[in-house]
Symmetry: C2
Subunit: 325 residues, 2 copies
């Protein structure tokens, strides 16, 4: 039996998973003075969201010579509030719940893709303004087109499955995925990122942001896109990102919209959030959403359950797949 502190709340269903497994649960929020005075050192594990700041000092205060927390769970994805280095130094495992939001991100990506090729936000905007742009808002189908995925992790694979079922041909670039590990009937994996741009008319970004991926979608690459679908239809070029801001060079994307090289751009993430002054927001062929890809009721409900199961794995002596250190 372990003692588990839940400091930022958790769903009843998730707490029940832990208590049914025989563990002692305390759901109580602690302020920094309590955290620094060692309130967590009587627990074996702590589960936080974003409100509890697990700084180096708090982590040090949460362990003693022989006892204290061995596990920090972040119910969610971002770990800005956890000093991962300090946790690692003290042998504390840190886990988050990346899988809980996968489906939500997949669905928003497909929603943005269809909204782009059929001009849905623009259609609604022009109708609200009193015009009826039936003649000008001719779109194109995604069926029979090539979708290029930059990054081929969990979310990209979900997007691939959904888009393939809607009739798209899937191509991907991910230097961290072994070619032999992917069924070529599901997705063609490419060794050069440029190939995604020369082959695909529709491209969706699904990698992490890092120095390696900063502005990998830039003017040179966008200019490689041909605008002609695999079915011979001149469907134009379409770019989407529900990943992280900064992977797409927004200035380059705006120029490509202005020149017509890009027919549409859909972004859920931005180099600066909110993107207050961005001229993108005034372009007719852009549409955006305010970083809501993971923001669904279902993702929130799953986060707690995924966290509880991850902690149970850890308490059973299994190193959780979601471990970050």
């Amino acid at each position: 039996m372990a003692r588990i502190a839940i400091t930022d709340g958790m769903s009843d269903g998730a707490m029940k998973i832990l208590s049914d497994a025989g563990h002692e649960i305390s759901s109580e929020h602690f302020e920094p003075p309590d955290l620094l005075s060692g309130v967590l050192s009587t627990f074996d594990a702590v589960i936080v969201r974003s409100a509890t700041k697990m700084t180096r000092e708090v982590i040090t205060s949460s362990i003693t010579e022989s006892n204290g927390i061995q596990f920090i769970g972040r119910a969610g994805v971002g770990i800005d509030n956890i000093d991962l280095e300090a946790a690692t130094e003290h042998g504390i495992i840190v886990c988050n719940t990346p899988g809980a939001s996968t489906r939500s991100v997949v669905e928003l990506t497909i929603g943005h893709l269809l909204s782009s090729v059929r001009n849905i936000p623009r259609a609604d905007r022009t109708m609200r303004a009193g015009s009826w742009e039936k003649k000008t808002l001719r779109g194109s189908e995604i069926y029979g087109k090539r979708l290029g995925l930059i990054g081929f992790g969990r979310i990209a694979r979900g997007v691939a499955d959904a888009a393939r079922s809607l009739g798209m041909e899937i191509h991907a670039f991910d230097p961290y995925v072994e070619n032999g590990s992917i069924d070529p009937s599901m997705c063609t994996l490419h060794e050069e990122l440029d190939d995604i741009f020369t082959i695909c008319t529709h491209i969706s970004v699904h990698c992490n942001f890092s120095e390696e991926t900063k502005h990998i979608v830039n003017s040179d690459r966008i200019s490689l896109m041909t605008g002609v679908g695999a079915d011979g239809i001149e469907c134009g070029n379409h770019l989407i990102s529900c990943a992280r801001g900064g992977i797409i060079d927004e200035d380059a994307a705006l120029k490509a919209l202005e020149s017509g090289q890009l027919s549409s751009l859909a972004l859920d993430v931005f180099e600066t959030e909110p993107p207050d002054q961005s001229p993108l927001l005034a372009h007719d062929d852009f549409h955006g959403s305010p970083h809501i890809a993971a923001s669904t009721m279902e993702a929130q409900a799953r986060i707690g359950v995924e966290m509880a199961n991850t902690l149970l794995e850890f308490l059973d002596g299994i190193r959780p797949v979601n471990s970050l250190n």
Copy 2:
């Protein structure tokens, strides 16, 4: 060898199908005086779009005792410009090309569905207005929810396949479809329209407009919807139509948006088009498009090919499936 008049243009590929089959093609637009003086009576078949008006008088002028047109092809769907009764009286077969736009309508329906549950047009609108509604625009997933289809013809079945591949459970009402003809693992067919409303949180309209279907989506039925998904998530109620205006009672739908009984309403078709004065256009949870479900490059390209193949069937002595009389 038949003589075929193409009076409103046709794609090169479609004309090639006809000429390759050995037929003589004349692509020329005729004005009413020419039509009424019998210019079409030297042809065996005529293919029109919407510009050539095949009135009773024009049809009568296009036949002689022993000769004249035996086939009127409408490259497209609507046949407002063809007097079907007069054609039937004279033994002339009238065909249109309903299949050409199926895929486009399916994709717009799925696009509107995802746009609704994730608030995509609203997200874009609020961003353009300078706000960042990340906290308030929490959506829901379609995965695990029940989609109700009113009408279960060609388009609805395409929507069913797409939505099922995205994880939805499909229910349909169509009094003209025999229950035994549908695989129950694909779709549950209901005998009462009310059942669609009591069971499903997401409903999409795919029937024709007629006196029988006018306002079949009304206050009483909308009030039956529970707002709780098959997965227990309180996802709200979502209504979509890319079919024809007038099937949904727009006043009732607006009231349901205002009361919160409907969480979203997405319409590509309206009781009056354009819906200039409709208060729907000012509601945050509504979004619309100006009757563009069939308006894609692909649908246009396929219309000619489908028409050409339909005419070849007729000339081979087969009664075309697309015959309207």
